[in-house]
């Protein structure tokens, strides 16, 4: 500890702390541009000059560590003179175009120029001009404004893990740019907009659409992933203009992903549904709520009378709030119907039939950045949960070991200490291989039922590497199961094995969820009888369907089957914020509002429930889902739906839903590996599937800027192992036919993809075009 004095205030601070940090903690203001708490120290802007007693000249507070007995002044004549001098230099080349700059009003340079700048410039020479760069659809640039603080550069290099921005040239000729004007493709790039202390980097979709002081701030929570990033939704005259992060050190720190930031564009899209509609013949007619409700009541009652409550199936999007989920299932269950699920991207419900599965993260998310070792299974965590990807990157920089068992050799923003890239059917086997090595180390027997899987997994050095690392510091180790596990035909095997490893050696576990999956599970949006799971509800056609917040084809990996069932059904109601393909099969469409216009709670993977507030009034006749469900229940004469406001719903939920702890059961009876797991015919390719980052939900699919990024392709592109691609004559845009054993086929653009292992073909889900393949695990490939 050192005792120092800043502006006469005596402070006790940790040795080695930088003066600026000590001052911040004591609430003493020091101007700055390049210093940022979450970034390394560059000390290149020189704005933070302070006067230190006995020092021969002013020193930068961000790069000067405290020493015992130091007496610092931030306000002495020498300090202020130095700060003013720096400001004068910074403004030499700055265009001072605040009136036409989006940063105006929230610009550290503008603010500090007011405090430290001169009224009149002494600089009469020409200012330098720097060409603007086009760095992609998300960030607008005005590089003449750049003051070379290198925050954006350091963010890419240190936090995001891909260095896309850099400083070229030097002196008068220095420019912040990408290599040859390439685009910025990081999934968290928008944070550079917040970091940039001037208007050099601003939001492209928001550009020139509002001034920051006119905006109203609303506290919300991002629904796109299971992290629950805290947001400020900013509106002007009832329209969402932009979204910026809200600091929460336990969740998102000061970052949000581009999906969180730019997903809002969907809510202003022309595809919004703003009126209830009825199908009449083959066209849609706008109607009022009253008629729509009576139509729904009539339709449901007819179907229940003829097919019983069992004839109704309800599917809900994982983006729904807890309240919507709770009321949706309550409505169903009040009609004696248990057919409700939100897991439309899961196929194997075997584990669910034995255990009521409810799992998430066994440790606080903030712990992730200091964990000592991680095994990632079936997860492209960087794109599935971008903010958790950042935490793993921080962990990796801090020396933790990260291993992956995946089917695609994903490009992570952290270093893998070992990776096993195998076809999907071998993923559980590889995990069993790890389990076998764990059992040897801890001296227990591998349960009998895993042995067939372990055999299939064979012997690989990486198994023992992983096992040793996990066991060595098991309390600080972690097994994470990602989206590809959930979509896996042997999900229960993966669950059982990873939970068994947890049981015998004490590693921690995380099951990643889609969006609000944890909240919806907790609030009853899973069937009590696992027979009524989503796959069954979809593949055994029911006579009536209630679809909540879904684009049924893209939001399910068996959207093709769902579509068939909807066609067969007598009565389909779609609660939706958007017009979509699934509307075609509906009889009634009820317009509900997206999260920006609907208050409610989301529960993140850690089990933390956070409130998200509506930021704008509903568009047109659209209404928040919970209100629609309440009125519908009343119209159906169901009792227990007399809520006046959201708080009523919440207090009922608090009384009826008991908070369950997460469980990680391993005593699940599992299936044996598939018989013809190997290649019975060398013409069959294993299908690798994932849902790309900007295809996951109805919002991002309609967010125009996100759709234009390099992470997204408007039409799906299949990937083939580089070696095997040579056997075909693949050119840019070559189309090939891929066909399932049942004979369903599509033609799709195929390219060589260095992430794909041999005998596999990668075909993304989340596209209407690839839906006909459903969940087929093997495909044949023919040249067109």
């Amino acid at each position: 500890m050192a005792t120092i004095e800043i502006d006469g205030k005596s402070l006790e601070v940790e040795n080695g702390t930088m003066i600026i940090k000590a001052a911040d903690e004591a609430g003493i203001y020091i101007p700055r541009f390049c210093y940022h708490e979450k970034l390394s120290i560059a000390a290149n802007c020189r704005m933070c000059m302070v006067d230190i007693e006995k020092a021969p000249k002013p020193m930068p507070a961000c790069a000067t560590p405290v020493a015992d007995g130091m007496k610092i002044s931030t306000l002495s004549e020498r300090a202020v003179e130095a700060q003013k001098g720096t400001m004068e230099f910074l403004l030499i080349n700055h265009p001072l175009d605040c009136p036409i700059c989006d940063q105006g009003g929230e610009c550290p340079l503008q603010d500090q120029a007011l405090g430290y700048g001169k009224d009149v410039s002494r600089f009469t020479e020409k200012k330098r001009v720097v060409e603007d760069k086009d760095i992609g659809p998300l960030i607008a640039t005005a590089m003449t404004r750049c003051i070379h603080c290198t925050r954006c550069v350091r963010f890419g290099q240190e936090v995001a893990g891909i260095m896309e921005m850099g400083g070229t040239g030097r002196g008068e000729h220095m420019e912040i740019t990408t290599f040859l004007g390439g685009s910025i493709d990081s999934e968290v790039s928008g944070n550079m907009i917040d970091l940039c202390p001037v208007g050099a980097l601003t939001s492209k979709p928001y550009r020139y659409s509002a001034r920051s002081w006119e905006l109203q701030n609303h506290d919300a929570v991002s629904p796109h992933d299971c992290v629950g990033a805290n947001l400020h939704i900013q509106t002007l005259r009832n329209e969402v203009k932009r979204i910026v992060p809200r600091d929460n050190s336990a969740v998102n720190e000061c970052w949000i992903s581009d999906r969180d930031r730019f997903g809002y564009e969907a809510v202003n899209s022309p595809e919004r549904l703003t009126q209830p509609m009825l199908k009449s013949g083959d066209h849609w007619e706008v109607t009022d709520w009253k008629t729509a409700f009576s139509k729904v009541v009539q339709g449901l009652q007819t179907e229940i009378n003829s097919a019983g409550p069992e004839g109704v199936a309800a599917l809900i999007s994982p983006l729904a709030t807890n309240e919507e989920g709770y009321l949706f299932q309550k409505l169903l269950r009040s009609m004696d119907c248990d057919n409700i699920d939100h897991r439309l991207r899961q196929v194997d419900f075997l584990a669910d039939s034995q255990q009521n599965l409810y799992s998430g993260a066994e440790l606080p998310l903030e712990k992730l950045s200091t964990i000592s070792s991680v095994l990632l299974v079936g997860s492209n965590i960087r794109k599935e949960q971008p903010l958790l990807g950042l935490k793993l990157r921080a962990a990796s920089l801090g020396g933790s070991k990260i291993y992956a068992i995946n089917s695609l050799d994903y490009h992570f923003n952290f270093k893998l200490d070992g990776a096993l890239i195998v076809e999907p059917s071998t993923v559980p086997a590889a995990l069993a291989g790890v389990a076998l090595d764990v059992s040897r180390i801890v001296g227990t027997d591998l349960p009998e039922q895993f042995s067939a899987w372990a055999q299939l997994g064979g012997n690989r050095d990486v198994y023992s590497d992983i096992a040793e690392v996990l066991v060595a510091d098991s309390a600080e180790s972690l097994i994470i199961l990602g989206d590809s596990c959930r979509q896996h035909p042997h999900y229960s095997v993966i669950l059982a094995i990873s939970n068994w490893i947890r049981e015998v050696c004490g590693v921690k576990r995380i099951d990643l969820h889609e969006a609000n999956g944890v909240g919806l599970t907790q609030n009853g949006c899973v069937p009590k009888n696992s027979e009524n799971n989503a796959l069954n509800l979809v593949s055994n056609p029911r006579s009536a369907y209630l679809l909540y917040g879904l684009d049924c084809v893209e939001d399910s990996i068996y959207g093709n089957v769902l579509e068939d069932s909807l066609k067969k059904a007598n009565f389909v109601v779609s609660f939706s914020a958007f017009k979509s393909e699934s509307m075609n099969h509906a009889d009634v469409v009820l317009p509900i509002t997206p999260y920006t216009e609907c208050s409610g709670h989301f529960t993140n993977v850690e089990g933390m429930t956070q409130r998200s507030n509506a930021a704008a009034l509903p568009r047109g006749e659209a209404r928040p889902g919970w209100k629609v469900l309440r009125v519908l229940a009343n119209q159906l004469s169901l009792s227990g739906f007399d809520f006046v406001d959201l708080n009523d719903v919440n207090s009922e939920m608090e009384n009826t839903i008991s908070e369950k702890p997460f469980e990680y059961p391993h005593d699940i009876e599992i299936t044996l590996p598939d018989k013809h797991n190997g290649q019975d015919s060398n013409k069959l390719f294993h299908r690798i599937m994932d849902v790309p980052i900007y295809r996951v939900d109805p919002l991002v699919r309609r967010a125009t800027a996100l759709q234009k990024t390099a992470d997204n392709s408007i039409r799906p592109i299949a990937g083939l192992n580089v070696e095997q691609a040579r056997e075909f004559t693949l050119r840019d845009g070559t189309l090939m036919n891929v066909v399932t054993p049942e004979g369903n086929g599509i033609s799709i653009q195929v390219q060589a993809d260095n992430r794909v292992p041999v005998n596999c073909i990668y075909i993304p889900a989340g596209y209407i075009e690839t839906a006909p393949l459903g969940v087929a695990t093997h495909l044949t490939l023919e040249e067109v």
Partner: protein, 157 residues
């Protein structure tokens, strides 16, 4: 595009430093010796060999004056125009070369042989005015010494 020999030289440089980024400068120097200038491909390839982002290599290529990010002539005439040389009329050295080769400062002759640069003090003030070509210093320049240097270089292959 980099020769095997060059790649192994770069890999050897890499072992000299704790981080790969530190080896960029020597890597680029060897690459420029082989290719004459640092093209986009050279940047990409050096980045690949060193396992860095392209921008990290490009930053350094653009930072140093002696790395050329555009093609230059086979011989670069660097005429010092700093104080001592200026006092000894380096201006007329520059204009003489400009006239003789029909190029402006910074330009390259049509046959790709010569590029003219003006540079700062090279520490040879005692022999002002002077210029540097390759690793050679030519001092006490007069119009006819300049002519003979250029002719000699121009004749060599």
């Amino acid at each position: 595009m980099l020769s095997d020999e060059l790649i192994s030289k770069i890999n050897k440089e890499k072992t000299k430093y704790p981080i790969a980024r530190a080896a960029v400068k020597s890597a680029l120097r060897y690459a420029q010796e082989e290719h004459g200038w640092i093209s986009e491909e050279v940047v990409r390839d050096v980045a690949e060999v060193l396992n860095l982002e392209t921008i990290q290599v490009f930053e350094i290529a653009t930072f140093y004056d002696l790395f050329y990010t555009e093609p230059v002539g086979k011989y670069q005439l660097r005429v010092c125009t700093n104080v001592s040389c200026m006092l000894r009329d380096s201006d007329s050295v520059v204009s003489h070369i400009q006239k003789k080769l029909d190029i402006k400062t910074g330009e390259t002759t049509a046959d790709g042989k010569f590029t003219l640069f003006e540079v700062e003090c090279l520490g040879a003030c005692g022999g002002a005015p002077m210029m540097m070509v390759g690793n050679e210093f030519y001092e006490n320049l007069e119009p006819d010494t300049i002519d003979s240097i250029i002719e000699k270089l121009g004749a060599s292959e």
